[in-house]
Every structure is written in structure tokens, then in C-alpha cells.
Subunit: 396 residues, 2 copies
């Protein structure tokens, strides 16, 4: 029997679509991972009775609910009042909460505005949750069947409080049996080709298979119930990986060894082999450099504007790179298409990716489609993946 | 009296946080703009009774509801069945719907899988909404107080059907009186400085003032009820703009003349003055080039890796740029900080932005704070804004 959880977001700016509710997505992932069954998200604007009604509804059908937003100092921040109304409780002044808020302002050498006093009034009998990064304290309260945890809507505050204060308590309060989610992350193969590759796969009925396509990446997801053993899971994952081949660049959820996005995988390999990299971008035009800036193995990057591209420009820049960094791997894009062709969403273009090492050169042509932005993303991803394949001794 | 609208999203992948529900945000904006009062979003997973219960709840409190998702061909696509259950209706076969689905596959020279037949069964008495870009037809049905419109979850299909078929019908079915939303978009001034600048502003009680902070940008939002005249609105917007000053780079919602993001504003000015631009990035390291790739006025971009930065490197590159593009505006970043300092979220850094014209040079120092990614974003935005100020003849 799964423990039922819901997410409850509050705020006019969410319900009117001024901001995307990334809090709800993040929280749902967290709760799902540790074993809750997610049933609903509800978003309600800043109206006291609506907010209170929703607390009452959720209290009848869920075991656990995380609420975000509505804890600020202004008059439209109504969460504490709404939960008090729903529970038939008063708001009570919490002296420690006020002391925390005052010390937040004192550390910043600013006077506490009088409006912030409001944040120290919590529903009677609730348990305060301190906010290490902002002024708004959170709180938890049991109402009916449901334990409610109310956190601020600011993502950095919400995440810090959830991770530090809420998450460690949950296994003590609920008997959670998490499913095991394994993601095989692939690059360079489309969703339909993946389905084709897996068409003869005979998974047990209780293992769920799912797909998730993102920019230039497809994730194959396997969800195993908690009674599957490690070796059963490994065996099924090996089978799926065998069907998919070298396009799988990382497997998440299996063990710590291989995980993270494509850049993280390459970072590991570059550091392991102590390689250095120089980069020449055309179609992605800075996207790759910008993404890799922090990596110590990236030594230099040159951009060639597609309008300026010519074979001789390419050669000239390559020579500069190879003279300045004779030991580094050179990773370059060359593209003969005009900017108009690259920007045209109905036009496919060919991008040549080359990898130059002191010993040998490799190259491969890739076909890119879609909008300019999508082509830039694909160019950056395929260029990185070409490097991954070289570093992993795979066929180029 | 406002007409009350809700959004209802269906699908395990949304409720478990595998995807961000951008449909809900987009729909909320659309409905708010034309004059609905948005009350709730609800997201429910793929369980028939839960889905039907939610239809019943919404039918009692809202006038209009857009539902997305659950119209696909597979067994976990349950929207039609759930709405039929909630309404006490049967599903009825729609021969025209099947003909449309068959022709979708015929145009692609593929046989229609048998599972797609399911998509031609709609709740009895509902009005079909054809899908111009996919297989799943939508439908609308009145239940209780609420008119439900059910659309596919695939964003391109949902948006095409909403825009072409649903939106034109809404003013015929509801007496909508849209509020007027004006956004003053600012760059280079923080939210608290904005609140300080506006502290003596005495807006009428029926005009709502709001703020929205994004990466290196703050939007000041004014919401006017429908009975405000154009000249009243212009007068209040002028007052607010006067208090905020040159940090306002665009005003959206007032008229078509000035709108769009910072890049769009600069694009207009660059094209108007027929200027050309060359770029040298350090801290943003490719982010700006990548963003401006499509603009015809961007002639060349050079990246200097922060580890390589020195006064002489900077001079050498600037000379190359000025020799190759003597007529262009040169926009450069110089930064003496190490990469470790730039990447340290607790360290502030100083970025010098210079603008070189054939006649004169300008420069200004900016302090950047936060994570590497945030500093990169700030560097890119402030660099663009320095160009905007020059092009607009503002004080640099």
C-alpha cells in the first residue's frame, strides 16, 4: 500500500501563469524517489477561503502534502491564516521565530521592517521549520489524515528547508518503500529508433518502461518495484543497454560510478586521462564554450561566424590552435551553410565535427534539423559526444 | 463579476515531476489576457476515478476549464472515459474523427495502428475539436456550471487547437472584460531599489502593482481594470517610468512600438542606425555570441578565457578586431579575476565593459555576484545593456 502525497502551490503569480511552477516538479521528483505515490498538484491564488477549502480537501485524501508559497510578509501571503482557518486554530506568536527574523536583518545591518513581524505568527500547535537562507519560517501540522508541511515559495529557501529539515524526518514518519528508477541516458539516437531497438524486449509485467526526450537526448527509464534485487536489476539494465549500444552515455540510479549529464561524463574522462582541449565552434557559436568555461581542461575556444566560414579561415584558425596548444585535443565544427540556411527551421544542414590529436585526426558528418536554437543545441551535444566516444575508445 | 476559469492537467509524467507543466502556464496567460479570472490548476495522474472526481469538483466551482493530456491512443489515456464517467454519459464512436486519424496516417504513407481507433470515441453529446497537427481530436462538453475543453498534452498540438478553434469561440460564449497588463522591463536595478524608487507612488486602489525578478532583469507590472482609458493608463505608466528612469528598457502592453526582450530592443536600434558589432567576451564566454548569432549586425566574436586574460592579450585581440572591422562598434569585457574567483558563489567580481567606436571609447565597471552561471548571465545582460544605452543616447 503506497503512501499518498500531494503538492499544493499557492500564489497569484503561479495560477495566472506569470511563473512556471518548478517547485512542484522538483518536489514531486523528491517525493517519488523516496517512495511516495504522487496523486495531485493543486495551485490556488491568494484568496483565504479558497486556500482553506483546499487544505480541507487535501486533508481528507492524502497522507502527506508539501505546500509552497504564501509565507512572505505582505498581506497577500495567506498560508498560515488559511491553514489555521481550515483547522479551526488560532495563529500564535512564536518568539523564537521573531528572534530568527530579527537576526536575519541584524546580520545584514538593516532594520527589520514592521511587516516582517507577521511571519512570526504560526498556526497553534504547528511545528516550526527554521529558514537558514531567508526570513520566512515554515511549519508542519497534522490535519485530518494528512501531515502538511508549509515552505516558502522562493526555490532556494524551499529546497534548503526541504533537504535539511523535512527529508530526514520522512522515513521516521512514514513506511516508505521506494521503487527503483534507472535512467539510461542516450545521445545521437531518436525516440522511434530506440523503440525499434527495444521492440523484442520482454520485460516482466511489474517493471515499467518509459521514455523521455529532451534536447538532443533521449532517456530510457526503467521503474523496478522495491522487491527486485540488485542483481535482477543489473541483469535487466544490461539487457536494455545491450540493445541500445554505445549511444548510452550514462546510467543513472544503478550505482554512483556512471551518472550525470554528458558534460559530467566527459569531465570525468578528461580528468582521468589528463587531456587538454581546444575548441573551434561554428554552428553552436559559443554555446559549448560557455557551458565548459569552468572545466580546467578547456584551454582555449575560437568562434567562427557561419558567415565568415571558409576552408582557409578554418585552416588558419586550426593552425593557430595547434601551434599554441600542441599537446591538446582539438575539437572543431565546420559548416558550409549560410546563416539563413542554419536559421531556417525547414532546412536541414550538415555539420562536420573533427577531432584532432597529435597522432591522428577523425571526422564525421552530422545532419541537424529544426530551429536555430535547436540546431545550436544539437551541434553542441554532438560535438561533446564525439569527444566522449573518442575518450571511451568507441567507434567514431 | 469575473468569469472563473481553471486549468486541469492530466498524466503521470506531470504529477510525478518528470516534465514541467508549461502547458498550464501558457494557458493561464492566454485566459488571463482575454479576461478570465484564474482560480486553480489541478494535476492528476492516470487513474480513472481520480480523474472523474476532479471533473465533478471543477464542474461545481468554475465557468470554464481547459484540460490537457490523456487523449492519446494508449490504455493510460483516460480523459474521454473520465469525463463520460463524471457526466454519466457513454462514449460514442465518431466516424469523422476516425476518418481524420486515418487520413493523418495516409498522408504519411503509414498504416494506422489499431490502437488509434480508440481516439475516435468521444463522450456522447460533446463537440469535436479537430487536430490539425496530430492524431488526437479534442472535444468540449458542458458539465454542471462548467464548459470543459479537452485538448492533447503535446504542446504544439494543444497550442494550435487552442489558438485556432477554442480562442475565437470564447468571446461568443462568455462576457469577458480583460484587465490591461503593462510591464515595465528594467535592467541594472534591483527589486529593493525599485521599491525604494516607487515608495511615494500613490496608485489608485483598483490598480494592482506587482514585481517579477528574473535573471538580471526586474519587471514592474501594472494591472488596470477594463474601465481605465488609454490616456489614464499612459499617464500612470509615464509616472512610473519617470520614477524608474533609464533602467526601463521596454514597456510591454502599452502599444506595439516598444516591446520584446533586451536583445529585440537592441536589434531594432542596431538595424535603425545600421551599425555593425564585434564582440570580445570573457566572463560570459560565448553566451552573448551564441545568443546574438542570428543578428546580421554581429560580424565577429572573440572569446578570452579568464585564465588567459591579460592586458596585453586584450590589447592584441582588440587591435585585430579594429583592424579587420574598422567601422564596427567594439563591445568588450575585461576581467582580472581568476576562474576560481568567478566560479565562487560567495565572491563578487568586477567586470569592465568597454564600448569602442571610431570616435570615442567608453567604459564602466560592474560588480557581479552569485554562482558562475548567474555571473555569466549578468555579464551578458549588462554588456548588452551598455550597448543599448549608447544606442539610445543615454548616459553611459
Amino acid at each position: 500500500m503506497k503512501i499518498l502525497a500531494e503538492i499544493y502551490s499557492q500564489g497569484e503569480e503561479v495560477v495566472t501563469g506569470q511563473i512556471l511552477d518548478s517547485n512542484a516538479t522538483w518536489l514531486a521528483q523528491q517525493l517519488q524517489t523516496i517512495g511516495f505515490k504522487l496523486k495531485r498538484h493543486t495551485t490556488v491564488g491568494d484568496h483565504l477561503q479558497d486556500l482553506a477549502d483546499t487544505f480541507v480537501e487535501i486533508s481528507k485524501r492524502a497522507d502527506f502534502c508539501v505546500c509552497t508559497g504564501g509565507l512572505g510578509p505582505t498581506s497577500d501571503d495567506l498560508t498560515a491564516a488559511a491553514l489555521a482557518l481550515a483547522s479551526g486554530l488560532e495563529l500564535a506568536f512564536d518568539a523564537d521565530a521573531l528572534a530568527n527574523i530579527e537576526s536575519y536583518f541584524a546580520r545584514r545591518h538593516r532594520p527589520m521592517p514592521e511587516t516582517n513581524r507577521k511571519q512570526a505568527f504560526l498556526p497553534q500547535g504547528s511545528v516550526r521549520i527554521d529558514n537558514p537562507v531567508g526570513t520566512a519560517p515554515g511549519f508542519s501540522l497534522q490535519l485530518g489524515r494528512c501531515l502538511f508541511v508549509c515552505l516558502p515559495g522562493v526555490p532556494t529557501e524551499m529546497k534548503a528547508m526541504f533537504t535539511q529539515s523535512v527529508l530526514p524526518q520522512l522515513p521516521l514518519k512514514f513506511e516508505l518503500k521506494p521503487d527503483r528508477l534507472i535512467s539510461l541516458r542516450t545521445v545521437g539516437i531518436g525516440e522511434s529508433a530506440i523503440q525499434q531497438a527495444l521492440k523484442n524486449l520482454q520485460l516482466p509485467d511489474d517493471v515499467e518502461l518509459g521514455f523521455r526526450a529532451a534536447l538532443a537526448e533521449v532517456q530510457v527509464k526503467l521503474l523496478f518495484p522495491d522487491y527486485y534485487t540488485d542483481s535482477q536489476i543489473h541483469s535487466w539494465v544490461d539487457t536494455v543497454k545491450g540493445l541500445l549500444g554505445d549511444e548510452v552515455y550514462a546510467i543513472e540510479g544503478l550505482d554512483a560510478a556512471v551518472s550525470g549529464d554528458l558534460l559530467a561524463v566527459i569531465d570525468n574522462l578528461m580528468c582521468l586521462h589528463q587531456h587538454e582541449l581546444v575548441l573551434m565552434e561554428s554552428v553552436s557559436f559559443g554555446l559549448l564554450a560557455h557551458t565548459c568555461l569552468l572545466k580546467s581542461w578547456l584551454k582555449h575556444a575560437i568562434l567562427i561566424h557561419p558567415q565568415e566560414y571558409s576552408e582557409s579561415e578554418y585552416r588558419r584558425h586550426l593552425e593557430i590552435l595547434q601551434t599554441q596548444y600542441p599537446e591538446a585535443i582539438g575539437l572543431t565544427q565546420s559548416c558550409q551553410h549560410t546563416l539563413a540556411e542554419i536559421a531556417d527551421p525547414n532546412q536541414t544542414i550538415t555539420l562536420r565535427i573533427c577531432l584532432h590529436t597529435p597522432a591522428l585526426d577523425y571526422h564525421k558528418d552530422f545532419v541537424l534539423a529544426g530551429s536555430l536554437n535547436y540546431k545550436q543545441q544539437q551541434a553542441a551535444t554532438y560535438t561533446l559526444d564525439f569527444l566522449r566516444r573518442y575518450l571511451s575508445n568507441l567507434c567514431l
